[in-house]
């Protein structure tokens, strides 16, 4: 690297697309057949889930899929390092579910 760069102001090469509105952020990407997702959160701060009635949501026109925690198997990816660091405790013990099943908090 040339020492001429030290102390000099160098223009960033990635800026032109951002200052002209041509950046490509995740929300800007459109793929064929792409659908929209909406998440329904619990109206309660800390509560047990007794049941979830998805029939009205599934009956809405244009709805492709309704998922609850019960539809997603608990299959957490192993963490890169032990959580808690206690011997004998599984690394993934604190890995949360994608969607809540028994309780929300």
């Amino acid at each position: 690297m040339s020492t001429d760069l030290v102390g000099s102001s160098v223009k960033r090469v990635e800026d032109p697309r951002f200052i002209t509105g041509k950046g490509r952020y995740l929300d800007d990407i459109k793929l064929a057949g792409m659908t929209y997702m909406s998440i329904l959160r619990s109206p309660y701060a800390h509560a047990n889930i007794r049941s979830i009635d998805t029939s009205a949501a599934k009956a809405m026109p244009g709805v492709v899929l309704v998922l609850t925690g019960a539809d997603i198997p608990y299959n957490p990816l192993p963490m890169a390092w032990p959580a808690g660091g206690v011997a004998g405790i599984q690394n993934n013990i604190n890995t949360p579910r994608v969607l809540a099943t028994d309780s929300v908090k």
């Binding site: 200052i19 950046g23 952020y25 800007d28």
Partner: protein, 166 residues
């Protein structure tokens, strides 16, 4: 139920069908493919969606597309001249007024509105002018410096130096 809406965006006339509840920002992004205008917060706090509607800066997530019917809109995609960059774009680049760039289109559109009414703003006036726009990476120092620089360039009437488009 849809409504027909006429919009002239960056000099190009468009006729689109929108739901009455559709926001202007979604008409720009989804119907016209102009994704340079960003949705940062959806609650009119962050200013990433700022565009010019009939010459005034508006947060396009606070405007219904039907409200803009018959209007003239300028977005970040319409700022640069045929060749080169707008003085504000060039100054943001030159003065390191961005990192991730997400807020930049809104910052530039808000700054353009400020400079249209006040060609020689003080730093306080610049900060007031962009108070509706949030940046989460740079801090505002370099953004203010960029707007000050652009104001000076525009006042001098100097053509913005040619930049590189990709």
């Amino acid at each position: 139920m849809t409504e027909q809406v006429s919009l002239t965006v960056n000099g190009v006339p468009h006729e689109i069908s929108v739901e009455p509840r559709q926001l202007l920002v979604h008409a720009l992004r989804e119907d016209l493919g102009l994704t340079g205008t960003h949705v940062g917060c959806d609650t009119s706090q962050c200013g990433a969606c700022t565009v010019q509607l009939n010459g005034a800066a508006v947060k396009s997530c606070t405007v219904l597309a039907v409200q803009a019917d018959g209007g003239t809109i300028r977005t970040i995609e319409g700022m640069a001249p045929e060749v080169g960059l707008h003085a504000l774009q060039n100054a943001f680049w030159e003065k390191h007024g961005l990192q991730c760039g997400f807020c930049t289109p809104g910052m530039i559109m808000a700054a353009a509105d400020l400079l249209a009414g006040n060609p020689d703003p003080t730093d306080d006036e610049i900060r007031h002018g962009i108070e509706g726009n949030l940046c989460r990476c740079t801090g505002y120092q370099n953004i203010v410096a960029a707007i000050r620089e652009a104001a000076s360039t525009i006042r001098a009437g100097a053509a913005a130096p040619a930049g590189v488009h990709d």
